[in-house]
């Protein structure tokens, strides 16, 4: 192993490994809480990034660069899965229509200061994949509708409707938790 290769690896490890938690966090949410899948995704991302390290511009945002590689790696897998049978969407499962029950019960949104984050994370993880991925990319990662549409290969209008339905579904779960906690009646 050459000194040059060794130095390159050390440099990559210094720059990239500090972002492992952030990468794992994104991978875990994209894969719906599936830890082994998330870890595989992080490893694949790191390998791709290492192979492409010479193309990374020193001084630019390494975290953003790694997150982009992870997103693209996940999306490639996601698109391959699209050839599978149509995923179960909200229409096909017994569910109440989108409601504003939470807003009506707690218009000031005080619940957001009291809810346990893990419960909401579970609710995100349980969303059907097509909806979860849209929420994670948009609401956790802050991508624009256009960016989500391009990544998921769907029209912008579909991004909008998925976000709307996913967010209302999450609010529905929050409402249920709020009732369970005795926070609202």
């Amino acid at each position: 192993m050459s000194i040059l290769a060794e130095r390159r690896r050390a440099e990559f490890e210094d720059e990239a490994l500090i972002h492992l938690d952030a990468l794992f966090g994104l991978a875990l949410r994209l894969s719906g809480g599936d830890e082994p899948r998330a870890e595989d995704l992080v490893q694949e991302t790191m390998l791709k990034a290492y192979r492409a390290w010479d193309r990374f511009e020193a001084g630019t945002n390494c975290r953003a660069w790694l997150m982009t590689i992870l997103r693209n790696t996940f999306i490639n897998q996601f698109r391959k899965q699209k050839s599978r049978p149509v995923p179960v969407e909200f229409d096909q499962v017994a569910e109440r229509p989108a409601s504003d029950a939470l807003y009506e019960a707690d218009p000031a949104g005080r619940i957001f200061d009291h809810i346990i984050d893990d419960q909401v994370i579970s609710a995100i993880d349980e969303l059907p994949e097509e909806f979860r991925v849209a929420v994670v990319l948009s609401d956790l990662e802050g991508l624009s509708y256009q960016e989500v549409a391009e990544l998921m290969d769907i029209p912008v209008g579909t991004v909008k409707s998925r976000l709307f339905r996913a967010r209302k579904r999450l609010q529905g779960r929050l409402y249920e938790y709020a009732v369970e906690m005795g926070y609202v009646k």
């Binding site: 192993m1 290769a5 060794e6 390159r8 690896r9 990559f12 490890e13 490994l17 492992l20 938690d21 952030a22 990468l23 794992f24 966090g25 994104l26 875990l28 949410r29 870890e39 992080v42 490893q43 790191m46 390998l47 290492y50 192979r51 504003d100 807003y103 009506e104 218009p107 000031a108 949104g109 957001f112 809810i115 984050d117 909401v120 994370i121 995100i124 929420v135 948009s138 609401d139 956790l140 990662e141 802050g142 624009s144 509708y145 909008k160 976000l163 709307f164 967010r167 999450l170 609010q171």
Partner: protein, 94 residues
């Protein structure tokens, strides 16, 4: 969807549309996500400035989105994952 009943008001500014509550609420997420064009964004903003019913609803949705956005951080990868990545990089360097 909550009906707050404000009908489109008269043309306060000729040429600029005035939104009903239903129309404003239909755009709540696009507005908060910064995804509306300038004219539409402005139309929603003008509606909110005068609608006591819609403004709290938009505020609530903003709190909700802020809350979801904050959820992303805080996960910790297991130390074994870092070990595996280091091993993988070493193998790749050989």
């Amino acid at each position: 969807m909550t009906e707050c009943g404000t009908p489109p008001s008269g043309a306060e500014r000729p040429g600029e549309p005035n939104l009903s509550c239903e129309e404003a609420l239909a755009r709540v997420y696009e507005y908060l996500d910064g995804e509306l064009g300038a004219a539409e964004h402005d139309a929603v903003r003008r509606h909110l400035a005068k609608c006591r019913n819609c403004y709290p609803h938009f505020d609530f949705e903003r709190l909700f989105l802020d809350y979801i956005h904050e959820l992303g951080a805080g996960e910790k990868a297991k130390p074994e994952l870092e070990d595996r990545v280091r091993e993988m990089l070493a193998a790749e360097t050989d």
